[in-house]
């Protein structure tokens, strides 16, 4: 099995995540889709690292994971606050910042 299939898997996962962000309204689901995209890119990084025989990609994947963990903490807190004030987790309800 060539590493190419991992790349394909990563692309598929990223696409699923991106489409999810675009079409879903629920903030939690949106959040999970973002995580999916991050993990897809992590998978792609690790795969490239494997293909090139270096450790750079793996190190960057770890970085991405740490950042993602921090982001989850902040993101969930924001979603919690929005839910408390608006009684809804739909991102379309939080649309005050516009023209």
């Amino acid at each position: 099995m060539t590493p190419m299939w991992y790349i394909v898997l990563a692309a598929v996962l990223f696409t699923i995540g991106a489409v999810g962000v675009l079409i879903r309204r629920n903030a939690i689901v949106l959040f999970m889709c973002i995580e999916l995209m991050l993990n897809a890119s992590n998978l792609a990084l690790v795969t490239f690292s494997r293909i090139n025989g270096g450790l750079d990609g793996q190190i960057m994947a770890f970085f991405a994971m740490v950042v993602a963990a921090a982001e989850v903490v902040i993101g969930l807190a924001i979603i919690m606050l929005i839910f408390r004030t608006r009684r809804s987790a739909s991102v379309d309800d939080a649309n005050l910042l516009k023209y």
Binding site: V21, L22, Y99
Partner: protein, 623 residues
């Protein structure tokens, strides 16, 4: 004293500024400080005058400090005291002090009298600077100073629209003349590299005839503006909207004579070109007739006096234009005029004071019984101006008329005739004024109780009347001698075209005739409303259509031009600027709609952007 000449200017200036700065705190004693300052200057001027008379060179020049030291342009703040300055200083401070004193009584009930005296003192200071400066820039400084004071005082009752308009009119017409003076100073500096009188007059010989002509015409324009001479005479009668002491001091006795001073001071320039002299004489002759004709048709006591001022200054211009010895004649007429005209203006003020500010001479009559002192003093002024010996006007006007006959060619007849005719007309309209005001039946409006003015107003009247009586004899003897260095050898003296005694006789006969005609016509009073009249009288009532001319030729095209420029500005310049702003604003308003507030649409644009960048990279890499 001669080393402290600057104090003459500084005292009234300091007092004026003090009165304006202190505000209401000075209300009680302010007017008296205002009287004191010019009186102090008068005393000092008198001492300086006698000290000057003892000196053999009869001129003191003093540079106080360097005023404008810029490269080639070196202007000193300097004063010069010579016979010409000396007589002006005495006239300004002497008559000025009397008018200040009168104004204490006249303005006693005015709320802003403190500011009035402040302006009055500043006027005196500026006028003294004008006559005491030793170069053209000092003269210009004083020139603008008196212009400012004149504006402030004409528009003193600025809540009356007529006064505010008259102030503006005076200011704007003076600007026209000032442009001439300023250009003349520029030209002097450009050609001679200095503005100091002594150096300028020493350099006149090096100038070409054309330059002198242009220079003289520019100076004449300035002089006409300040002195209310044709074609800039229209502001002076309107200036009578100001309080009467202002009319007496500024618009009769002193400021309006600044033009005569300018020409007399610049006499080396004017004497150097005969064309120039002819122009000055023509302006004088034309204006003196213009003033007489219009003055004869007016019914407002102050306006008649104003037009007579215009006319008398015409005589002075005639004198200074004749050159040679006639310069001094113009100056003595100026001094005599300062006395008798101030006297008559103050008399008119006294009449108005007793008649509840009535100015229409058709509504006076019989006042001689109620205002003895005003009547007698006014009579002295009246006899002086129409030139009845032995009052001052006879001694000063008659020599000018005679001098006009000494030009030596046919113009003698023209200018001499104009001056003689003017004398007759002057007698006519001044007698009309006098008879209608003080004699005949009462034609008062209801509720008038004329009364004599308080002593503080009548004392200056009496002193000025005495001046009108004795001044003439004094002028024609000692003052003429005193002024001797002023007239330079101008044109060669010609024999008069007719004998001197004949001219004098003609002058007297015409004056008496004019006066008798006026007495015959107006002894029994006059109609209370304007009567239909022939074309000449109608024209004279309308200022010989000079105002209409100004309006059609200058004011209308000016306002059209302004309107056209406003149109170009608002549609063109503003249109461009506003159009650009509207374009950017409108575009932004539409672009703003892209910010919908939906997270997914932002995400989509980010994705689209990412794909685009990726696509571009791939295209570059593999394309």
């Amino acid at each position: 004293m001669l080393s402290l000449l600057w104090l003459l200017i500084a005292i009234p200036l300091a007092s004026g500024l003090l009165l304006l700065v202190l505000g209401r705190r000075a209300d009680k004693w302010g007017p008296w400080l205002g009287v004191l300052a010019p009186s102090a200057s008068f005393v000092m001027g008198l001492i300086a005058f006698f000290q000057l008379a003892d000196r053999s060179d009869k001129v003191v020049e003093q540079n106080l400090y360097s005023f404008i030291p810029v490269g080639d342009l070196q202007v000193d703040f300097g004063v010069m005291f010579d016979p010409l300055s000396a007589v002006f200083v005495l006239l300004i401070t002497g008559v000025g002090s009397l008018i200040h004193l009168y104004a204490v009584g006249y303005m006693a009930d005015d709320e802003k009298r403190r500011a009035f005296f402040g302006y009055f003192n500043i006027f005196i200071a500026a006028m003294l600077l004008l006559v005491l400066g030793n170069n053209y820039v000092m003269l210009y400084l004083g020139w603008e100073g008196v212009g400012l004071a004149s504006y402030l005082l004409i528009a003193f009752w600025y809540n009356r629209p007529a006064a505010a308009t008259a102030g503006k009119k005076a200011f704007i017409m003076n600007r026209v003349g000032d442009v001439g003076l300023v250009l003349a100073i520029f030209l002097i500096f450009a050609k001679l590299g200095t503005v100091n009188y002594v150096q300028v007059f020493a350099g006149v010989g090096t100038l070409t005839s054309g330059t002198i002509l242009v220079l003289g015409l520019l100076l004449l324009l300035g002089a006409c503006g300040k002195s209310g001479q044709f074609p800039l005479q229209a502001w002076l009668p309107d200036a009578m909207e100001g309080p009467t002491p202002v009319s007496a001091l500024i618009h009769a006795a002193t400021m309006v004579t600044a033009g005569v001073y300018l020409i007399a001071r610049s006499n080396p320039i004017f004497s150097a070109n005969t064309t120039l002299q002819t122009v000055v004489v023509s302006v004088g002759a034309l204006t003196l007739l213009l003033g007489c004709v219009i003055g004869a048709a007016k019914d407002d006591i102050k306006r008649v006096l104003a037009w007579s001022t215009v006319s008398q200054i015409g005589y002075m211009f005639l004198g200074v234009g004749l050159g040679g010895g006639a310069y001094a004649l113009a100056i003595i007429h100026l001094l005599a005029h300062g006395f008798f005209k101030a006297n008559m203006f103050l008399g008119a003020g006294s009449v108005m004071h007793g008649m509840q500010d009535q100015v229409d001479i058709r509504r006076f009559g019989s006042l001689s019984k109620y205002m003895r002192i005003t009547w007698l003093t006014f009579m002295m002024g009246w006899l002086a101006i129409i030139g009845i010996p032995p009052l001052s006007g006879y001694f000063t006007k008659e020599p000018i008329i005679a001098a006009a006959f000494e030009r030596g060619d046919w113009t003698s007849w023209l200018f001499g005739g104009a001056a003689l005719l003017g004398a007759g007309l002057t007698a006519f309209y001044m007698t009309r004024l006098f008879v209608l005001t003080f004699h005949g039946a009462k034609r008062w409006t209801d509720g008038q109780h004329p009364h004599e003015s308080p002593p503080i107003m009548t004392i200056p009247l009496i002193l000025l009347a005495l001046g009108s009586i004795v001044a003439g004899w004094l002028m024609s003897t000692s003052v003429l001698e005193w002024l001797e260095p002023v007239p330079l050898p101008g044109g060669e003296a010609h024999a008069p075209v007719m004998p001197h005694w004949l001219i004098t006789t003609f002058g007297l006969v015409l004056s008496v005739l004019g006066a008798l005609v006026a007495v015959a016509l107006f002894r029994r009073g006059t109609a209370l409303a304007p009567q239909p009249a022939g074309p000449v009288v109608t024209a004279a009532r309308n200022n010989l259509y000079t105002d209409a001319f100004n309006e059609v030729v200058f004011e209308k095209p000016g306002s059209w031009l302004t309107r056209a420029l406003v149109y170009v500005d608002s549609k063109g310049v503003d249109g461009l600027v506003n159009g650009l702003a509207a374009l950017v604003g409108g575009g932004s308003g539409r672009l703003r709609r892209l910010q919908t507030g939906f997270v997914r649409s932002y995400a989509l644009s980010m994705l689209a952007g990412g794909v685009l960048v990726l696509g571009a990279l791939l295209a570059v890499r593999f394309g």
